[in-house]
Symmetry: C2
């Protein structure tokens, strides 16, 4: 493909993509294909000879599109969104043009430096405490990871090694120290709550440490409390185990609960004081809800205790208009990352690294090479401005408020389980009359939910919290507008009424 | 930015990108900026109001370009390449359009299914043994990771947990088993060689296991031998430690050595027989050189013993025209990945997963969400055809042969340290007269290398192998053509002669 052919192929693709976005709501949001559909459509072996682009592009609509779940559709209300925006897409286009494996500064200084700068912009816009700025008092800073799972695995490894390093600092013989670390590692426990995203448990599996979950209760809104944390820590220590890490969540997956940061900070100040040997590393997982911090009405309240914690991350690709993948991670002490993850090779030797003046981000993450992801962040922030990003958050919150008001108006059919909070509403069917049992409600809600999925006009997720089967409604996909909310709600009402009629 | 503005911005960007590629060799391949250059050019805080695209695009040339290392330049001969191709760029464009966090099948069946299919295509084209096919006899298959570092960390965690699971299978009490696993984990050792890429050591740091390197020697071409492996395993077992994992490299970072796969297989058949409890998981790291397997002259010989190993990966983004990032990982038993990495949440429940008929790739990797990376692989394979990919490999091998011939012709100045192999040649300066010492050669080669870097017309990497400082020449960047090789060599000759004259 020469550059003229590329130009034609790319413009033709662009036009097809624009039409895709402009007509996306005409498509069924979820596919109806059966498992294995694509294997029937493609040859078993790779083609020997090259094919013209026109033939390939034709197959996108014919073969790929039927297997696409349209995350950008305004009818996509499931899980959390994966946002897409035109400036974000331009960022990916330019990043691809600069293709390189930017594992250290000299691999492309702009890749490293733009990342540090836009992450400082975000830390300031989010009102994060100064410890998370690259220029802050604790030598912290930000880095872009792909997903929250990577961010959590990374900080957990850093926390584990920091804890073990401090615990064995007095041993000078290298072999003895390795043995002591190996033995001690077996006693370490990473903590989350029963409402924490599975990323924390998976990180513990990866890091080779135990995992325990602090129980959460309906009466606390499914948030972790200081009391619950205290009980867990004390019980573990009673067994000779050593909690070294905690994920505190701002916006849990099920219902967007916010863990009791004040309570957590207080308990840890007593049981494992920050800054002292044996401290428990607290990571704030704000994967989805973190983007709301761009608005003062959220960030003046919610960041209050963050200066007592060790790291924070949020996925700009969820709710802040940056295309997947882009999880921004901030740490209080970048040294903790590099101590755990730095490795070097003779082939990597270079004057800039030797000078100590540059950041080699490969030592802040699991992968070696890295994409130029800060470009899309830069383009999005500059195109929308902080004001535009705030509007985006507020508009979506308003859509959810509108939806929740409709749910409340039909209290004959529905009951809100949680929210609306951070634009998420979890609801269930009330059941017949006043005295419907939870089992009955669950059964009805499940049936109604399956009916909505089969209907296919909208796509939502379900969950189970405290034994309650609930449907989650999250209208934060970028293309959802006010005029979509009522028709969406009508589909739910229709499904509920039919389900009741059949019951 | 509306769709019309996007169309204009994207076409304007496309045109600028095409010009960038067409004139890339006029740019100095490495930047001359000082650390911190970009902070001086950008505001300290994010803009409050949005800016027009034209202003943003202007800054790409003005502010970003000066900090770019041009990996796509034909004057880029450093490390290993990061390939870029027009079909690869179109793949990224479409992947971005479909933005979604495809963590399970239902998130977009096409994302999962196309990945399985193109990875089977590659396994066949590379002549990998059937155990690495998704339809093969051992329930294996392929998955796309971002980088080799992620692939190795992932298989090491799988190997660790498999080993521990088997070692503690007889313990039925859950708490007791957790304690036994924690204790045993402390004895585990992951192995590589002293020439293995740092990704293996880093993976051991992440997985929380010990790491030891088998020594390699110049007389074995810096390849790991069965003998060396045997000595290491026996010594470790003598200390009560348990080797459970080994990285065998096809194409080491320094000099593209290939470990003695036959010798390794033989020693392990004796000391830790494959398929039996206590087996050592062997991962073949072919990050760079693996792409050569698309050619029969490589794949008929080099894959001979792979059926005795557990996993294999190569980065298509290095040498096979797919844009970064794209590391294809194949495993003999996908169950080993999912046993180690599977986690679930109520919100993820769906009928397709429950049916057991689909692959949820999130359980084959560290990240939760995933990009639609198979699109770019599909576009590249279809655009070039297997024949075109073979030509690409062979052309680059021929360029390196041509370069090495020139080096040999100037044996008054240079001596080849290793290669050419997989298009990589490592060479050094011979020094004055016949009897120059290694120290003298190292000193001269270093000085000459620094001169070449300062000159800036071409960019190469250096390394140190067996005490020898060597310059690596790797002409596999996509745009290198035959007419570039002689001028590149002339620059090296000029630098060598000047260095000698000054010595």
């Amino acid at each position: 493909m020469d550059s003229q052919q590329f130009r034609e192929a790319a413009i033709s693709s662009l036009d097809q993509i624009i039409i895709y976005y402009e007509t996306i709501e005409d498509r069924r949001v979820t596919p109806t294909v059966e498992p294995g559909y694509l294997r029937k459509l493609l040859p078993e072996e790779a083609p020997q000879e090259g094919e013209p682009w026109a033939d390939i592009q034709k197959d996108i609509e014919a073969k790929i599109m039927p297997g696409i779940t349209h995350w950008q559709s305004p009818n996509f209300l499931a899980w959390f969104p994966s946002s897409s925006s035109y400036p974000g897409m331009l960022g990916e286009m330019w990043s691809t043009a600069f293709t390189g494996a930017a594992f250290n500064w000299i691999c492309s200084p702009a890749v490293t430096e733009l990342e540090t700068i836009v992450l400082d912009w975000i830390a300031r816009a989010f009102n994060l405490p100064p410890c998370f700025l690259s220029t802050g008092p604790t030598n912290g800073g930000g880095v872009i990871h792909g997903t929250t799972s990577e961010a959590i695995a990374t900080v957990m490894v850093a926390a584990r090694d920091k804890y073990l390093r401090e615990a064995t600092a007095q041993i000078t013989d290298e072999d003895e120290r390795e043995d002591a670390i190996a033995l001690r590692r077996g006693r370490l426990v990473a903590l989350g709550s029963t409402a924490t995203h599975s990323a924390t448990k998976k990180a513990a599996q990866i890091a080779g440490v135990r995992h325990r979950a602090v129980s959460v209760r309906a009466e606390d809104g499914y948030a972790m409390t200081g009391k619950g944390l205290r009980e867990t820590i004390e019980a573990l220590r009673g067994r000779g185990l050593e909690p070294f890490y905690l994920t505190a969540t701002m916006g849990t997956t099920d219902v967007c609960a916010v863990d009791d940061m004040a309570g957590i900070a207080e308990v840890l100040a007593e049981l494992a004081p920050p800054g002292q040997k044996g401290e428990i590393w607290v990571h704030v997982d704000a994967a989805y809800a973190g983007s709301s911090l761009v608005c003062p009405e959220y960030n003046t309240v919610l960041t209050t205790h963050f200066d007592r914690f060790h790291s924070f991350n949020t996925n700009l690709h969820k709710w802040l208009l940056v295309n997947f993948d882009c999880s921004v991670l901030f740490v209080r002490s970048r040294r903790d990352l590099t101590d755990a993850l730095s490795v070097t090779l003779p082939i990597l030797q270079n004057a800039a690294t030797d000078s100590g003046l540059v950041t080699d981000y490969r030592d802040w993450q699991i992968p070696f090479g890295r994409r130029f992801r800060s470009l899309k962040v830069w383009f999005v922030i500059r195109s929308y401005g902080i004001a535009g990003l705030r509007s985006h958050i507020r508009d979506r919150v308003a859509l959810a408020e509108g939806f929740a008001a409709m749910v409340r108006e039909r209290s004959d059919l529905f009951e809100i389980v949680a929210g609306p909070v951070f634009a998420l509403t979890a609801f269930k069917m009330r059941g017949r009359g006043e005295g419907a049992s939870l089992d009955e409600q669950n059964e009805l809600t499940k049936k109604m939910y399956e009916r909505v999925l089969a209907d296919g006009r909208i796509f939502l997720s379900s969950t189970v919290v405290g034994g309650t089967f609930a449907i989650r409604h999250n209208p934060t996909a970028v293309l959802v507008r006010e005029h979509h909310v009522k028709p969406h709600f009508d589909i739910l009402v229709e499904a509920a009424e039919k389900t009741l009629a059949e019951a």
